[in-house]
């Protein structure tokens, strides 16, 4: 009887490309589980400072000199930058940008002659008819719902008093 030839035991190949790939994948997964994760936060947008404007300081926010477009109505200043298609340069309501729009809106006219000149006192709007006042209030309520009130419009030289009041 001849002894069977001893079985040839092949050495187990330990370092093969496949094993290396699997090992690095396992290491990566373990690392991902223990990796410290930074805690994110979503900061709120920087709030706009409520400012007191005079006709002169307001005038530059007409969309041409300054990208911000502001508009005043009944002593309040609204930020209408979000709607440049209405108030931007060349748009239909651009006459009101940077100006006190009260009289124009009350009369429903886009006539620049209705705007108070910059060097005059603020329009008191006392001579408006009842229905014009109503129209203006309608515009005002619509603006309050739609745009941010970012300040007040006062006569020149009264900024200090308005700031005190706050």
């Amino acid at each position: 009887m001849e002894a069977p030839p001893p079985a040839i035991t092949e050495a187990v190949p330990l370092v093969t490309p496949l094993n290396l790939i699997l090992f690095s994948l396992a290491a990566y997964l373990i690392y991902m589980r223990f990796k410290p994760s930074p805690i994110p936060t979503i900061a709120a947008p920087e709030p706009i400072v409520y400012t007191t404007y005079t006709p002169r300081t307001l005038a530059k926010y007409n969309g041409t000199d300054d990208p911000r477009i502001l508009l005043a109505m009944k002593g309040k200043v609204f930020d209408v930058s979000s709607k440049p298609m209405f108030y931007g340069p060349g748009a239909s309501y651009n006459v009101f940008a940077g100006r006190d729009a009260s009289r124009g809106l009350a009369k429903g006219a886009l006539d620049p002659s209705l705007l108070t000149p910059l060097d005059q006192k603020l329009d008191t709007l006392e001579d408006l008819a009842a229905d014009e006042k109503e129209t203006l209030q309608g515009w005002f309520d619509q603006f309050v719902g739609k745009y941010l009130v970012v300040g007040e419009l006062v006569n020149e030289g009264e900024e200090g008093a308005a700031n005190e009041k706050q």
Partner: protein
């Protein structure tokens, strides 16, 4: 190529597959949506020059009305309600009221208590007092009588003055004097009454006698200069009055004693019905829907009911129809374990200093390596997976010295009160406490002179770890409640344009605030990027 695949390859394959699929089944859901923590308040789009933007709860964003009252449905309309409605809803929802006496539990009949409100109301209404509006001081430990006295005052339109128990006679006399109370409810034989009425207007005293001592007569004292009556005598033999339809909501309902930080002296603060119910309803909706008070909950005030925050939370629990379990023992005079161990509560209120003391002593008792590993695992569960660790036999194996408040505990309320100078609890300390009690913790900012209830409080599932350095430990107090709006105003070196974020003095307004309009608290704080209020400055 085929010879390359050996058992090593198969093992590695199994490990990779396990690492991918096991977490899918075992990790579970976080307790709340993590995205909700990124920005926790509704921030106003504009601000005044020397002030920060207004911060509000996300429930009542800027531009919407603040939460006013309970919103009791009546036909097709809702009304704000007052403190009386809390009791009415409690009765309607069939809430339970228990008292824990040592190892025994007394279950009170709500119908009997409802009747007691009327007999006591009749008795108090008949007492002759100098002032038009009756002021009733209540010097009692946490008890059913203490709660009921509050509702008697609500239904019969008296002013309610809870006084912290126990206290020195001089302190009580001082509080009676400053609140002009003529009627006092107190435990029998706990004070020498003749010592009290020397400096105060005190005329009538109602004595609460415990059941075992009722055969003794406490009401006849020949030396007494005030009229004496026993509580159980009134409720057993007294006549029932009919509740007045209307109460005067402009008058103060509750008077509490606190310290004003700006004036640096003790002040008497009065809360109206509106203050209290707006604080209660804001508190009821503040936690995530999953964590809100439910009729199945057992609520235990482990803090004195003379503390307004504790009382408001108790009212919130009553409004939700919870079972209220009351124990006369409360921290700091008794231990937390003895205060609510036998009640098996699911929601508790604990004084801040007592809770942080328990947290510290329990942490120090974790001496074995096993405890340390367990704690690290639990903290990882909290901060990484957003889950409160579960109370299991494994977690409690070879347990260390920590209070065992039962398996049901799920929510701990704790309030920072700058008027009393409580020490702030940092984010990491709160996480330790969560791991120690296997419970969520809500950390609130209260300032009794300014507002009823809490001003801001943390979200119930906010377990984000604090990034502590050697000199700075991170702590925050969460976002405003839905009944207040909070902003900061420049104060000295603390300005809203500070590089570390808007800082300044806390200014609050809203229906729970004691003054109409704005209230300047004199407390310096900072807004974090996530809309939470922080009392520490960034170092």
């Amino acid at each position: 190529m085929s010879s390359d695949i050996s058992y090593v390859t198969y093992t590695l394959l199994a490990v990779v597959a396990g690492l991918i699929f096991v977490p899918v089944f075992l990790d579970g859901e976080p307790d709340g949506p993590p995205m909700a923590l990124l920005q926790q308040s509704s921030v106003g789009p504009t601000r005044r020059k020397n002030e920060s933007a207004i911060h509000r709860s996300r429930e009542t964003p800027v531009g919407f009305p603040l939460r006013q009252g309970l919103g009791i449905q009546e036909g097709y309309s809702r009304r704000n309600g007052d403190v009386r409605d809390i009791w009415r809803v409690f009765v309607q929802k069939v809430g339970h009221l228990h008292t824990v006496l040592g190892n025994d539990k007394v279950v009170h009949s709500i119908d009997t208590l409802d009747g007691e409100i009327d007999t006591l109301g009749h008795y108090f209404s008949g007492l002759p007092t100098a002032s038009q509006r009756k002021v009733i001081a209540v010097y009692l430990p946490n008890s059913v009588e203490n709660l009921i006295a509050g509702f008697v005052c609500a239904f019969y339109d008296f002013t309610f003055v809870p006084i912290e128990y126990p206290a020195e006679p001089e302190v009580i006399a001082e509080k009676l004097r400053t609140s002009n109370a003529e009627i006092l409810i107190m435990p029998a034989a706990s004070l020498d009454i003749n010592e009290l009425n020397v400096s105060s207007l005190l005329k009538h005293v109602i004595l609460v006698v415990e059941e075992g001592s009722r055969h003794l007569d406490f009401a006849t004292d020949p030396d007494a200069k005030v009229s004496l009556k026993e509580w159980h005598d009134i409720t057993a033999n007294g006549q029932k009055a009919t509740r007045p339809e209307k109460i005067d909501e402009s008058q103060p309902h509750m008077i509490i004693f606190s310290k004003d930080l700006k004036l640096q002296k003790s002040v008497v603060v009065s809360y109206s019905h509106v203050n209290i119910v707006s604080a209660v309803s804001a508190q009821a909706t503040a936690p995530a829907p999953k964590d809100q008070f439910k009729p199945t909950d057992v609520f235990t005030p482990a803090s004195t009911l003379a503390d307004q925050f504790t009382r408001i939370l108790t009212y919130t629990a009553m409004l939700s129809g919870c079972t209220i379990t009351i124990n006369a023992v409360t921290p700091p005079s008794g231990s937390l374990q003895s205060s609510c161990g036998n009640a098996l509560p699911s929601i508790i209120v604990v004084p801040a200093d007592s809770l942080s003391a328990v947290g510290r002593s329990s942490k120090a008792a974790q001496v074995e390596l096993f405890h340390e590993w367990m704690h690290i695992y639990q903290l990882r569960k909290l901060t990484r997976y957003g889950q409160v660790p579960q109370n299991s036999a494994f977690a409690r194996f070879n347990d260390y010295d920590r209070p065992n408040l039962g398996k049901n505990l799920r929510l701990i309320y704790v309030a920072e009160n700058p008027a009393e100078g409580t020490k702030p609890i940092t984010c990491n300390m709160l996480n330790d406490i969560r791991a120690i009690f296997f419970s969520k913790v809500v950390y609130a900012l209260t300032y009794p002179p300014a507002a009823a209830g809490a001003i801001t409080q943390t979200t119930s599932f906010d377990y984000r770890p604090g990034e502590d350095t050697k000199t700075f430990k991170e702590a925050h107090l969460g976002a405003p409640l839905s009944c207040v709006e909070v902003k900061l105003r420049d104060a000295g070196e603390y300005t809203v344009e500070h590089e570390d974020g808007p800082m300044g003095e806390i200014i609050i307004a809203g229906p729970s605030v004691t003054s109409s309009g704005e209230y300047a608290t004199g407390i310096i704080a900072r807004w974090r990027d996530d809309g939470c209020l922080s009392m520490g400055s960034k170092a």
